[in-house]
Structure formats: C-alpha cells, structure tokens
C-alpha cells in the first residue's frame, strides 16, 4: 500500500508544480501586454449613418496567444436608452505581435433625434459601455468593462431666426428677410438644406424659403432667409405675428417641423 500512496503523492506534487508554474507565467505575462486606445473619430457613413471609429492597439509581448478577443460597445443616450451596439471579434492575437484593430460603430442619427431634438440643438454627451473579453493563456477567460462618456456637439447649436425685416416691392408683393445663424459643434460637416415656412397668426402659409448649407465642423453660420410674400399692406400688418416651420435636411438626418414663433 505504501507504493501507491507514494505514487499518488509524487503525481499530485508534479501536477501542483505544473499548475503553479502555469499560473505564475500567465500572471507574469500580463505585464508584457500593452493595450492602447486611439483618438475616436466620428465620420458620416454612406447610408446616412454616423460612423464611430476607435483604433485599438494591442501589443502582445506575453508568453501566450490571446484568443477570442471580443470588443462590444453599446451607445446609450442621456436617458440610458440603447442607441447603437457593435462588436469586433478577433480570433487570435499571436504572442510577440503588435495588432491594430479598428472598432467601428454606426450611429443612426435619425434614431438619436427620435429620442429628442436636444442632440440637434444642444451640446450633450453619449455614454458608451465598452466591454472587452478575451481568453488569456488558453484557459483563463477575462473581461474588462467600463463606461466612457463621449461629448456630443450639436450640429445646429444656438439655432436662431432673428427679427423680420419687411420691404415693399409692389402693391401686392413684399419681401421679408430673416437672419438665421447657428454654430456647428458636431464632429462632422453639415451638408444639406434648411427649408423655412413663414406662417401668419392663423397658421396659413404665406411663403417659404430654402437655403443650401455646407457648414464645416466646429464653425458657425450666419445668413439671411428671403421670403417673397404676396400680401397687401393691410394683410402684411396682420402677418406681423405668426410662426416659422423649420425643416432640416442633411445627408445624415431629416428633422422638422420645428416651430419658432415670431412677432
């Protein structure tokens, strides 16, 4: 009986040595792993969506391969509702190699505006829940998760329609000019048009005007909207109160009408 007991003891000791050596080497490898996140960028995608691209640099100088690397990002708005979700999967990151992964998430701006127009006119923030999972040293699955807040710049920040100025063209026609200004705080260019309907106090449409826009990121816009109003002098005086219906149309989103009273 003594021999099997000794054999059991030797076998157990050998397995313990292997296990401890494996864990020690795996833990030691962690210090040779280097993860870096590059500057995330927003860019308009082809199908009217906004592409969020985040470069990830992984330098695996450890003793073993990293397997089943899976990066998942869930974007949510200020209320916590999910806006977009995307995953990037890399099956193997071999040891001794430097890998760059581009993690792309498409954001549907129309969907974002559906949760509130504040993203169009007010600077806000988007919350991204990022979780990265991988199998380390073949046997140890690990997951790292964090919440990151990205600032969201409004494309029509401080959108203002100024005071109406009237000019009589003839007995039946008048010209109305309205100054329009805003600042593009977004990370993308605003390329599209704004259509504005001029309505009187009864809600009847008097005239409409459309302006093409091409406002680069982080720049401001100031221009005039011109309306040709077929009104008599008496009717024109009645139209000094009313509202504008503003329609925004860009390659990324459609929004409107936004009602702005005047007078």
């Amino acid at each position: 009986m003594n021999v099997p007991i000794r054999a059991l003891g030797i076998a157990t000791s050998i397995f313990w040595i292997f296990l401890i050596a494996f864990i020690a080497l795996a833990a030691y490898s962690i210090k040779d792993l280097n993860f870096n996140v590059g500057e995330p960028q927003f860019a308009p995608a082809s199908n009217g969506q906004l592409l969020f691209s985040m470069p990830l640099y992984i330098d695996n100088r450890g003793f073993s391969d990293l397997k089943a690397f899976n990066l998942t990002t869930v974007f949510s708005d200020f209320e916590g509702s999910e806006i977009s979700k995307a995953s990037t999967y890399v099956s193997v990151i071999p040891h001794g190699e430097n890998v760059t992964i581009f993690h792309n998430v498409t954001l549907d701006v129309n969907g974002l505006l559906g949760n509130g127009a504040q993203y169009l006119f007010n600077d806000s923030s988007l919350t991204a829940s990022v979780s990265a999972g991988l199998t380390f040293a073949e046997l140890l699955p690990a997951q790292l998760s964090t919440n990151i807040t990205y600032p969201w710049g409004a494309p029509f920040y401080n959108f203002t329609l100024g005071q109406l100025s009237y000019r009589y063209l003839s007995a039946t026609n008048s010209s109305v000019t309205v100054p329009m200004s805003f600042e593009n705080h977004a990370a993308f260019d605003v390329d599209g048009s704004i259509r504005v309907e001029l309505c009187d106090s009864a809600g009847s449409l008097l005239s409409e005007s459309q302006t093409a826009l091409n406002v680069t990121s982080h720049s401001s816009y100031a221009g005039d909207l011109g309306f040709r109003v077929p009104l008599t002098l008496a009717a024109l005086s009645a139209a000094r109160n009313g509202h504008f219906n503003v329609y925004f149309s860009t390659s990324l989103f459609e929004y409107g009408p936004m009602v702005i009273p005047y007078g």
Binding site: M1, A11, L19, A27, L140, P141
Partner: protein
Amino acid sequence: MVEEKKKSRNIVRDMSFRVVKATVRAALVYVLYFFLAPLLAPLFVMVPMLAGTIESFVVIYIVLMILSDITEGTIFQYFFSTARALFVIAYLLLSLGDGVISVGYENFSLTVNLTMFYTVAVVLSLLGFAKSILQAIHFLNERAEADAISSGLQP
C-alpha cells in the same frame, strides 16, 4: 541503564533529524514563494489584498508542514497533513468562491474566470487529502500488525 541512555540518544538524534528536515522543507517552500511572488506582481497591483492573503496562506501552510514533519512517525503527522490539505481546500473555496473574480479599479471592472484553475487545484487538494487519509490508515494498519505480531510472539 546503558540501553536507556542509548534510547534517549536515539530519540534526540531522531528529533534533530526531523527538525532539520522540517527546516529544509519549509525553507524550500519559502524559496519557491520568494521566486514566484515577483511573477505575480502584476496581479498584486490590480488586487492589493491578494499579496496579504497569499502571504498568510504560505505562513499557515509552512507551519502545518513543520508540525507534520516534526511529528513524523506518529499519528499526529497524518492529522497535520490532513489539516494542511483541508486548509488548502478551504482557502481556495473562501478566496475564489465560484471561481470568477471581479476587481474594480477606478471606472474599470475586470472579471477573470478562474474556474479551470480552481477545479484543478481543488481536485489536487482532494487528492492530497485522500493521500493523507490513506497514509493514516496505512500507519494504523502497520501498527496493528506490529502489535499483533508482538502479542502473538509473547505467549
């Protein structure tokens, strides 16, 4: 009188041998810990409590090992080696729980699934426990046999 003196000298020599053996084994375990601890340094940075608990584990393990070596040749040796095996199992159960460790650091949360390591370690500890029990049974069996032989020879 001479025989008694010889016997007590043997006991002293035997005891000294056990102490030296226990010291050497304890030193070997400590040297192993001394060289492995720096390898685990990256983990200690992420989990500051880990260094303290591993140190306590090594101290208790070495104490039980010394006691087991000093009491060699008695039933207490197996008590202490069984206690050592049970201590390893209890430490693993208490420190690792279900085998999934979650550590929070600033805004980050790291979850490591150690189920595989945990399972193997618990199985090896159970084997160590079984070995101690078998050794105890074997020791008692041998002693009973020796008693039976000596009592059979007496009449």
